[in-house]
Amino acid sequence: MTTIAVTGKGGTGKTLVSALLIHFISKKSNRVLAVDADPDSNLADALGVEVEKTLGEIRELFQTSRDEMGTMNKEQWLEGKIYEAICECSGYDLLVMGRPEGEGCYCFANSLLRGVLRKLTKHYEYVVIDSEAGLEHFSRKTIDTADYVLIVTDMSKKGLATAKRIKELTKELKLKFRDIMLVANRIENKTAEQTIREFADEEGIKLLEILPYDEKVVEFDIKGIPLVKLNEESEVYRKMSKVAEVFLKG
């Protein structure tokens, strides 16, 4: 199993990168799990699929119905519900983490969740996680670990600062990843390209690809067209296909 956590400041194109990665990887492998771990983003829309239930909703349902379960096995109950919530898309599965915890104690629910997710994910060849910059699911250990941390940034100061912070966070969380990488998005000119290269060097993050500003992406966003419907005409699409190759080679 190869786990790729895609992260970065909101609005930098993290979901675009995740969606296209899933798109390309699932062309080569039929055991791909996509995880939407950012309550603010919408990976499902970018992938053009509809999701009925989120893990967060199931966890709430668990909290409110667990008193009535009698001698039933709560782990099995939760596992069944998670499997039901997984959206079976063409070529990959999608799990949406959904909203964060409400009030009350989630120690037990999360401890069960961790166990179920650990068992589940090991049967996939690729797990691609669209994660918010705070890496909350990693810090709570609902998601165990990542092989690759892929940071997406644009050339904004904030985007770069977030990228830097994520790198520090991965250290604090003691995430044992094989590599930490960078994809720069919406890079319009040579100066910006230069800034990004310098930043990557300085921080010791491997710069994987520089994506240009793409009218098509903007147009799709405005019209609400799933980003995976981009095609070879788009430079972003072509370049992301190369990024996917990096992971497919392993």
């Binding site: 009698g70 069944g80 499997y83 039901e84 009350g104 104690c105 037990f108 401890s111 090991k122």
Partner: protein
Amino acid sequence: MVERKKIEIPAGAKVKVSVGPEEKFPFDISPMYEGERIRKEDMFVELGGPKQVKFELVLALPPEQVEDMKVTLVGPDLDEMQEGKEYPYAMIYYIAGSKVETDLEPVIERRNHDFQNYIEGYMHLNQRYDVWVRIGKGSIKKGLKSLIQIAKATMMLYKNELPFIEKIEALYITDKELVEKLLKEVAMPVYEERDKRVEMLHDEDVEEFYSCTLCQSFAPTNVCVVSPDRPSLCGAISWFDGRAAAKVDPEGPNRAIPKGEVLDPIGGEYSGVNEFAKQESGGEYERIKLHSFFEFPHTSCGCFEVIGFYMPEVDGIGWVHRGYAGPAPNGLTFSTMAGQTGGGKQVAGFLGIGINYFRSKKFIQADGGWYRVVWMPKELKERVSKYIPDDIRDKIATEENAKNLDELKEFLKKVDHPVVKGVVRKVDGKKITEGWVEEKVEEKVEEKKEEAPAPTPAVAQPAPAVGMPMQMPAFQLPAIQMPASQPAPAGIKLVIKDAKITIGKIVVKKSKGES
């Protein structure tokens, strides 16, 4: 009890029978296949699941009724099924053995999930009437032909892993009408009977309780003891969950606690629990009584759903849940009280519990149970209403009846709540409180030893923040005697830090000259 007997197969049904162990299986069997998800695109057929009627059931029978390693399949087999479709599914196992009892049925039934998931290319999810099975296309290619092979593999695993099962027989059904009929007539009554047994199971019926130390990262000295009559404070873990978890991972967060000797049957004190508490709290606590509010109460983690608080002014206990934002009649909110009690402390006068504990027949029984309860938010009261005894339900105030202590006193007097005249605890008929002694200045106030909370646990704690009256009944009980309208003339506030005090008995008397 629902009668356990073999299911009659209707005449004329399409039946396949096979007896004896299978030589070879066309699939691998290993725990590494656990959690394997068979995707829709890779699926040959779905059995049960969200769209079909289904169930699994284990029935214990006398040995002479069970034919070992026999499988009967009623309805279409795999080779008659259409690829990509869903079918009804029932898996029934008859088991026998000298140690096999009806009580073990649910435990054994649960293992069907584990064992079937060891089978490569076979996904089993859920339990009881929710089972959801998928068989992968790959398995069919590798030579899986019949559900009988699945049944035989499962039975083999049962006998290998649970050697006390001496005989096992399976009945698998894919015939819709029969699955529907048996679910209604046989399986559901058995499930219901089992769930009823949960409520009938008490601390004295079991040999072991279970610990939960999941919270120790927040509350290092917290020792959650989960017994049949006392669920975990967070409300999530019942005795059955503890048992299941301890079986899977005996060194994990849920470990078995042998009960040991019963030291106090009413308070719920056991030598085994005390030893465990001492060890797990790092020596911080030496005694824990499971069903006591004042004397060596259970520690409170921080996760608890509800906090109980003693109000000396009415000599009663109030409860407030996490979701209630306003102050309780004592002027404190859930979060203030939780902050003082949480973190794994044993604080006499406050107690964190799970909402489920309100269902318990032993609910703070040492201190009067429901008859000592005077206040709870309406939302909480409604949620647990059916567990409150009829003769006290209307006497427990909510925020609609009383928002402060004066209103509460008024209400309790009006409804003649037991605390007014003295609480008799139901469990042994003993009168445990004297009741309010209002406006009778001459009354001698003597606190009996039984009610006096042992001071050791309380004072062993660092005192709460200064300015927060510490509601330790031992020191504040005299205040109860003050009429409501008067401010307590003594106005005692004791803040004790790092003190060790041992008190055998406290007698507080009003001197004659004073009034």
